[in-house]
Amino acid sequence: MANYAIKQISIFLENKPGRLAEVAEAMNEAKINILAFSIAEAGDFGVVRMLVNKPDEACKKLHEKGFTVSLTRVLGIKMKDEPGGLYEIAKILGDSDVNIDYAYAYSGTSGAVFILRVSDLELAIEKITEREVELIEDTLFE
């Protein structure tokens, strides 16, 4: 069965010059490719979230470098490049009483991908796969 729960890496970072470069440097050293990326900032600190091709390895590497890292399961949804694309997804989740904790998007090779952390991952996958919405499998990145 396809696994739609994608491993996302989250890193706690102080909001100061050079910290992000150190994350990127660690990824470069480990020859890890970053596929999607976002920064959420909250004053003096922020959380960097990214999808990479080798999440377990990336996590280990960052941990060794002293970063505060966690692995979180998120959803990747292929967006239809047409009016109502976002509405469709948001409505499915809203109707199922699934909350979106946060979201960001990236432009994949075959169209935009919407990445979401939701309050109920299992339920979200179940409801989304019932419809004609394409979810990204975690193997896609490896």
């Binding site: 996302q8 989250s10 706690f12 970072l13 102080e14 959420a40 909250a42 003096d44 600190f45 959380v47 979230r49 002293g66 970063f67 505060t68 890292v69 966690s70 979180t72 904790d101 946060y102 952390r117």
Partner: protein
């Protein structure tokens, strides 16, 4: 020259020493017979009431430490029963437990008498309006100055702290002539006044500042006097004794410590040996007349010296220099005592933060600002910003509950705060006085 209690304030020095000796001897008898704590302490040190033959013999007596108050929380060290206590004041202890000080009616009278003499020595009296901008409540500053100023016949405006714009407005409208607050808060009031278009020097009747509860310098006094067009006097006190008690006189050359109430000594903080006049050391105070919580040789932790010679004002009581610093790591933030150990105690009670922390103290717009940097606990790291914000708020509100002042909280990455071998230096104080 006005005196509140001319006979006592100008008592010849040898008569004062004689009075102090009699009061000390009475105190030691009383403590030995009525205080289980001091009876034990005196027995342990091998000094009995009959061993006190002169004032100098005070140096044979055992010290009392702040930890003694904490260990006897809340009132096990009191010498009177609850029915004789007229008021309590509570200040922060070094760790979780606060320090409780009780006052009988007689104790409150002594305190007010002390301030009546001191405020009179600053040239204040009937006809003055004093704005009391120290905190009212468990903190001693507000109520102490309030009753002192009332006693000398001044009109009192009990402002307490905060609502600075209102402080400025009422200062002008009520023709306030004197204010008591921390020196940094007075500068903040002046700055706020400027923003409102009210210049303290030109637009108000303020002439006198009774300033203390935090360390300040001659440089800061010059600045306040010049910018605000007032006379600024230093006031000293410590919550374990009776809050604010002693001020300088108009000579501005040391605070007059009323010797009929308090016997002061300066000791070498390391050896405990008594030092001579003009030598810097730790201030040690024996309360000569207090009833509820008399203290024998209480180590204040404040570094100062006793001046030689008699003051030109004619008052014969010992004069004490400005406080130069502390023997411990106690911080004074907006007039409130803060021990790094209290912060540590709070952080240890919260699961999702580490035990390493750093306190950065700064002055923003003349007001003290305390920043507590704490490491997030790696295992508890959630990638949801909201969880982190809640954690930050929780640390902030717990600190506020324990310290009685607000602190800014910054979450930092684990392992980034300095580690120490031996004594940790957890405080960075960037304030310039």
């Amino acid at each position: 020259m006005e005196y509140w209690n001319p006979r006592m304030e100008r008592i010849p020095a040898d008569e004062l020493r004689d009075l102090q000796y009699k009061l000390l001897k009475t105190l030691v008898y009383k403590l030995y017979n009525f205080s289980p704590f001091y009876r034990r302490r005196l027995k342990e040190s091998g000094v009995l009431p009959d061993d006190i033959h002169s004032l100098k013999d005070v140096s044979k007596l055992p010290f009392t430490q702040k930890t003694d108050l904490r260990d006897n929380y809340p009132d096990k060290i009191f010498c009177v029963s609850q029915s004789d206590v007229a008021r309590y004041h509570v200040s922060s202890g070094t760790t979780g437990k606060p320090t409780v000080v009780g006052y009988t009616e007689h104790d409150l009278n002594l305190w007010t008498e002390s301030l009546a003499r001191s405020l009179t020595a600053c040239g204040l009296g009937r006809g003055d309006t004093m704005q009391v901008s120290y905190g009212y409540g468990l903190f001693t500053g507000g109520l102490g100055l309030h009753y002192g100023a009332e006693r000398i016949g001044a009109s009192v405006l009990p402002m307490s702290t905060g609502n600075t714009e209102r402080q400025v407005e009422l200062m002008r409208d009520m023709k306030v002539t004197a204010i008591s607050c921390t020196p940094s808060y007075l500068l903040h009031i002046a700055e706020t006044g400027e923003k409102m278009g009210i210049n303290i020097k030109d637009d108000t009747d303020l002439k006198t500042g009774i300033l203390g509860a935090e360390p300040w310098s001659e440089r800061m006094r010059d600045r306040i006097e010049e910018e605000l067009g007032i006379d600024a006097y230093d006031i000293y006190g410590t919550s374990e004794l009776s809050g604010p008690m002693f001020t300088e006189c108009q000579e501005k050359n040391g605070a007059h410590v009323w010797g009929d109430q308090m016997l002061i000594e300066i000791i070498d903080p390391a050896s405990g040996e008594v030092l001579e006049n003009e030598e810097d050391g730790e201030l040690v105070v024996t309360t000569l007349q207090k009833e509820a919580l008399p203290l024998l040789r209480y180590r204040t932790g404040d570094l100062t010296k006793i001046y030689d010679g008699v003051c030109a004002c004619g008052r014969t009581h010992p004069r004490m220099a400005r406080i130069k610093g502390r023997t411990d790591d106690m911080l004074i933030i907006r007039g409130i005592n803060v021990f790094p150990s209290q912060v540590e105690h709070v952080l240890m009670s919260i699961d999702n933060v580490g035990n390493h922390f750093q306190i950065v103290v700064d002055r923003k717009e003349m007001l003290d600002n305390m920043l507590v940097m704490v490491e997030v606990n790696e295992n508890a790291f959630s990638d949801k910003i909201n969880d982190l914000m809640l954690l930050k708020d929780r640390v902030g509100s717990k600190l506020r509950n324990v310290l009685n002042i607000s602190a800014e909280v910054e979450l930092v990455e684990p392992g980034t705060l300095p580690r120490f071998e031996g004594k940790a230096k957890r405080v960075v104080d960037r304030r310039t006085l």
